[in-house]
Amino acid sequence: MKKVKVYITLKESVLDPQGQAVMQSLHNMDYKNVKDVRIGKYIELQMEDSADVATQVDTVCDKLLANTVIENYRYEIEEDVHS
């Protein structure tokens, strides 16, 4: 089995209202040194071993997990030691 860790982030050109609200809250907590906050998603997939796991992950990220109009993604594929 493989464990795939997918990280989805908003593109730099896209404003992140959630991130801005969280940053404001951090400033209210007196963490004035926080200069930007960007909120993304982390998704874990467990996948059976196959030769084209990476290709499949690319495809599912492009089609479903990320919206590439506004988001970027990257991923890591690891051996799943618990299965």
């Binding site: 050109s13 896209v14 404003l15 209202p17 609200a21 479903l64 997990l65 919206n67 109009v69 506004i70």
Partner: protein
């Protein structure tokens, strides 16, 4: 004109859409469950608002792969009118039938309010019964209606008159270029955040939305009449 209102788990404007067409327009309309796979026999397709699949992952992302969606895309490609309202607009964006994506509202608030829209393009089959630049009152109800697209897409929309509705006065959600509704290049797929089906009867506070449905019906009658006589 026979209309399909697609129903996803979590749709909540399907009944408003149904009654706007049945009572407001006086035309035949059916609910079509998302797991169906055919839209044969329907002349117009409505994708209503709501929170399909709980807005999990992204609004409209999961609905986009529902069983009915290949038939919706096929109907769009056949030139049938396809209207996506609110979550329906989000689904059309996710399906790639319209360009761009939705972000959370600029001030993060879910906004439920009557807004003024400006009819930017009254030459579409959805807007023929409005005047150009007419201001109409239509309600909005969304948390993610902050329309985003890149510069090239915005220019493409502007140059080809594909921005059909904009917010008049204050922009409620931060959408690019005040966009409230856009249409595809062929002119048969319209996505809009405001709810014309909730403004289809004066008793609801506005009947401005009814003309959108009447426009679709008129266009359908003209095109089918042309088909019979040609």
């Amino acid at each position: 004109m026979k209309t399909a209102v697609i129903v996803f788990p979590g749709s909540n404007c399907d009944q408003d859409m149904y009654y706007a067409i049945k009572d407001g327009l006086g035309e035949e309309v059916d609910y079509v469950w998302h797991a169906e796979t055919s839209l044969d026999g329907y002349d117009a397709i409505m994708i209503p608002g709501g929170f399909s699949y709980g807005d999990y992952l992204r609004s409209g992302a999961i609905a986009r792969f529902a069983g009915i969606m290949p038939a919706v895309i096929e109907a769009a490609n056949q030139g049938k009118p396809v209207l996506g309202v609110c979550n329906g607009f989000q689904i059309l964006l996710e399906a790639g039938l319209l360009p761009g994506a939705m972000l959370k509202n600029k001030h993060l608030k879910f906004i439920c309010d009557m807004v003024n829209l400006k009819v930017e393009n009254n030459q579409t089959q959805f807007t023929k019964l409005y005047d150009k630049n007419e201001i109409i009152g239509i309600p909005i109800a969304h948390g993610e209606g902050n329309y985003f697209c890149d510069d090239a897409t915005l220019k493409e929309l502007q140059d080809n008159n594909r921005i059909v509705f904009t917010y008049s006065g204050e922009n409620p959600n931060g959408s690019r270029a005040d966009i409230a509704g856009i249409i595809n290049p062929a002119g048969n797929v319209l996505g809009m955040m405001p709810h014309p089906e909730r403004a289809a009867d004066a008793l609801l506070g506005s009947a401005d939305g009814l003309r959108l449905f009447q426009s679709i019906l008129n266009h359908w009658r003209e095109s089918t009449h042309a088909a019979y006589t040609s």
